[in-house]
Every structure is written in structure tokens, then in C-alpha cells.
Symmetry: C2
Subunit: 163 residues, 2 copies
């Protein structure tokens, strides 16, 4: 059974500090076929259902040029996730691992990153394959896939530093 906020055998929760170091703005909404945490895929697949990422104003102009990228990085906020576990048991079998050694939605800052396959951009809507989140998930950011992107800005000294 997928996690629904239960604490499992062997898991460790902490008393987290207040999450007030920086603030996020939700810039859109992700529309998917999944309305329950019991149904969502564990990871998106490039041949999965087409999902619609709806960008809200005043950010729609920022989509200009995105469609040219075959794959994009999508950042979203896992709004239903608890944030206080440092050790988790994904299989609920007493075997636990550190939160940072998992891609579980339960993390101190529940930010998900997915690589999605571009279908098209139509006005404020970006249609993609490859998402794995609940319908209604808040959007945080869209970026070209790092593997497809060459910086346009002029070189900087750090570019050539090796070590």
C-alpha cells in the first residue's frame, strides 16, 4: 500500500524547523488522470498518458521558446507529503533507508523533478508525457532538459575550472 501519512516500523521522524527560510509561488496547475495517491505511477514513463501543465498569469509569456525542446524538466510541489521523515521504509518491511537515498515524495522540501517529453505548447498549456503526479499538483518551474541546453550567456572564469 502506498504511503498515506502513516509512520511505518523502523521509520524515524524528526521535529523539523519551521519552513520559513524562503517562499514559493505556485505558477500553475498540473492536470493528470490520477486523483488518488493509491493510483499514481511511482515514476513517469515517456509513453505514459498526455498530461496538461497549465501555466497561470503573469507567467505565460515565459513559455516562449519552450516547445523547441524535446524533453523538459518539470518541478512541482508535492502538497500532500509529510516532511519530517529522515529514515523511510518504502516497502513497509522494516528495511529503512535515509530520505536522501530515496526519490520518495516524503522529504524536508517536497519538490519533485521529472523529465517530461514535449507534445506541444498551446497558449498557457504545455502538453507532455512522462509525469507521475496527482491531478491538481501545483507547478513550481519548467526548464529545458539540461542535456539539450547549451548556455547562451558569455563564458565565465569558472567554466574552465577542473579539480
Amino acid at each position: 500500500m502506498v504511503r498515506e501519512d502513516e509512520l511505518r516500523a523502523g521509520e524515524v521522524a524528526v521535529e523539523p524547523p519551521a519552513a520559513t527560510d524562503a517562499g514559493l509561488v505556485f505558477i500553475g496547475t498540473i492536470h493528470t488522470p490520477w486523483t488518488s495517491r493509491l493510483e499514481t505511477p511511482r515514476q513517469g514513463r515517456a509513453d505514459g498518458p498526455v498530461c496538461r501543465i497549465e501555466v497561470h498569469e503573469p507567467w505565460v509569456a515565459a513559455l516562449d521558446g519552450l516547445e523547441q525542446f524535446e524533453t523538459i524538466e518539470v518541478l512541482y510541489w508535492l502538497h500532500l507529503s509529510r516532511r519530517d521523515l529522515v529514515r523511510q521504509s518504502p516497502r513497509n518491511d522494516r528495511d529503512v533507508r535515509g530520505t536522501f537515498a530515496l526519490r520518495s515524495p516524503v522529504r524536508p522540501n517536497p519538490i519533485a523533478t521529472s523529465v517530461a517529453t514535449m507534445v506541444r505548447v498551446d497558449g498557457p498549456n504545455v502538453f507532455v508525457h512522462g509525469l507521475d503526479c496527482l491531478d491538481g499538483t501545483p507547478l513550481l518551474d519548467l526548464k529545458p532538459d539540461r542535456c539539450l541546453f547549451t548556455p547562451l550567456a558569455p563564458p565565465q572564469p569558472g567554466d574552465s575550472e577542473v579539480g
Copy 2:
């Protein structure tokens, strides 16, 4: 010249909504050789300098198991970036693109994602190659690279959906 909060010819700024939809907690600090935005690499390189990611309590226990991954995803907060541009000119040459078609640090939610190469984990410190951020950058999250990670949790109905 790298951006230092100037508005360039052709760029478009908006009046952004308050960034109060969700709150972040800084879970650590990233130590790099770069102390000025005029020096940082535009993108990290796998043979770049070793950088130290220092994780703060109460999150150190969450590192358990991370060292086994050859590459990890690092999320951090670009604390000096302006957040109000929807069109940007990376070369400062009047050629502008939408913010979401760039990997510029200037974005509505200035969250960076890098794929870093693991050197070792030592107590609260994770040593990696491949970062490109300023010394003192706040850490948001660490995850195994998606390409190396197989979900441990049991299958869900959405796993097999194609479309």
C-alpha cells in the same frame, strides 16, 4: 558581463504575486570555490572542483545510503536571483527568450537542479564534483539520480498506463 540584477534591452519584468504559497526550509549549505556571480560556471562539469555539501541537523540521518549512487541530484536555492522576469536576454544583445526556455538562475521560483558526481559522504558532508553555484548557497534537497534509481515501493495501477 553576467547578470547582477540589471534589466536589459528587450527584457520583460512582471509584478509577481507574493511568494507565500508554500515555505522552504534550508537543510544545509553548499561550499564552493566561487564567491562572486562573475566567476561561477554557467553549468557544472563532472571534472570540476570538489565541492562540499554540508547537511544540517536534524537531517544528517537522511544521508544514510546516498553514497552508493554514482550521481545524485542536488536542489538548491538561488538566493541572490531576481524572480520577476518572463523574458530574458542571456547575451544582452536584444535577443530575448521566455524564462522557461532558459536555465537562467532568474525565475519565479529560483530553484536550481544539478546532477553531481559522488566523491564520498563523511558525516554531515557530501563531497561531489559538478556544481556551479556560489559559496554559501542554501541546500534544498538531495536525491539519487533518476537514471540510477529503481523504485522500492510496491507497484501501483498508474505504473502501467500508457497513452
